[in-house]
């Protein structure tokens, strides 16, 4: 049973603000979603290996060569705030 507190905790982990009225809506949605995916718990998967990637084990790797990276001007062109070629943020530490 999903509680409103569960929803608040998950939202916090996701860095999302959820208003009080939304909490109840999300709780209802979540209950339905879990009611649906809980089907998985009835499957017998003893001894089955997980598949993270369908072609795993066949990844072609390239040599690790030093190359030019993207110019700083290009990298910061979409920055919401920028100063001296850096991304500008609030002071993180006092």
């Amino acid at each position: 049973m999903i509680t409103k507190d569960d929803i608040r905790d998950v939202a916090e982990l996701c860095k999302l603000n959820i208003s009080e009225e939304e909490v109840e809506n999300f709780r209802k949605d979540f209950s339905r979603i879990l009611g649906y995916v809980d089907l998985l718990k009835t499957a017998d998967t003893d001894g089955v290996e997980p598949t993270y990637h369908v072609n795993s084990g066949t990844q072609p790797l390239r040599d690790d060569m030093v190359e030019d990276s993207m110019p700083v001007e290009d990298t910061i062109q979409n920055a919401p705030e920028e100063q001296y070629g850096y991304f500008k943020l609030l002071r993180v530490m006092d």
Binding site: N17, L40, P50, Y52, Q59, P60, M70, P80
Partner: protein, 481 residues
Amino acid sequence: MDIIGLSARQMQEKLMDKELSARDIVEAHLERIEGIEPELNAFITVTREEALRDADDLDRKIRDGERLGALAGIPVGIKDNIITSGIKTTCGSKMLEDFIPPYEATVIERIKEEDGIVLGKTNLDEFAIGSLTDTSYFGATKNPVDLNRTPGGSSGGSAAAVQAQEVAVTLGSDTGGSIRQPASYCGVVGIKPTYGLVSRYGLVAVANSLDQIGVFGRDVSDSALILGTIAGHDRRDSTSMDMESIDYLDDLDEDIKGMRIGLPREYFDIDMNDGIRDRVMEAVGIFESLGAKVDEVSLPNTKWALATYYVLAASEISSNLSRFDGVRYGYRAAEYESLDELYMNTRTEAFGREVKRRIMAGTYFLSREHAEEYYRKALQLRTLIRDDFDRVFEEYDIIISPTTPNLPFERGAENDPLIMAESDTFTVPVNLAGNCAISIPCGDVEGLPAGLQIIGDRFKERRILKAGYAFERYLSTGGGR
């Protein structure tokens, strides 16, 4: 001349024969876009100036007798979750409303190298999460076959643009059916290639173990043509496979006598529209008349596919979308007093409801308390689903099914995400297994298009294209006469 009514390959022939210039082709399509977009909304951005400039460059190349690329003169639309250098790429989200990428996706580089002309960026569900193309920050797209219906999604803009003759071919992306389902609903051809056939460098990732870039066209040949130009290994995507380059148009018209076709029992046990079932069974009859051998086969783990997909996709979504934090690019909230508030206000203000729901569900599935029972369990079931397909493909060349169990939804109807998910019943297992599949129009039901899905083993695109081509030719010639 009805330029926009030509196939991509016909446009190209007329360009080579100097019956048409690249400018004629591009202008005709821009005019169509201008005329129909206010109603249809298949595009988020139209790149008019760039397209006309590219057309003039190409006409100069033709005058100078230079070598031309495989897509010379063909107008292309690009789903707006594929990065285009210098051209806004929004993912249909307020989060990236003004984002102008400083680099190019590999598929775009290849299209340009082959002289394809990009006319714009097509609409999608926000971050390609959805099945209706109605969660875009830039408004919903309509279905050109019936404007009261949805085009499907998430690549609804790409499917609608091809059906409405705004462009000849488009790129989309398919994580659980996002190319095949809208192709079916809009009555066009859509291909989801094998995982690893096409580079994902520059595709904004939502669920990277499932995402694959693919194509739309009005027929199999056009779709095969553009698929051939974007396929192949890319050193910038280590999940793209080292394959010899393949010309998918080669041998496309070989007959399919002796082809072994599997009809999965479990797919036909599912509730579906009777008309769609009839069209698909007629298709089975056509394949038999063309000399294919059709048997019932079993994919016993199909029943787990939708829930497995929901858990895996949401988990990957929650992880991928954590990069949108308002720091380096994209939206940043105007008001905040701490770094944490900056993250929270930015994400709360710029993500839509469905995206938030998936992020939260995925975070829950991945949390320490629940990862074992949901995420890991789903990864194990994915193995069983993939093994099902591998077993069938030991004996069969292709598998056929409907693309969707239902006809396109009416617009504005109650959008229940779990019911919407059911329309992905036949498409989702293919992404979980990493196989390739094509959706081809197989006739109408109540005046709306139905789609036939042809599934192939990994990296056996030629088989599904050959089968699709034979089927399409049979329909277009009214029985091969």
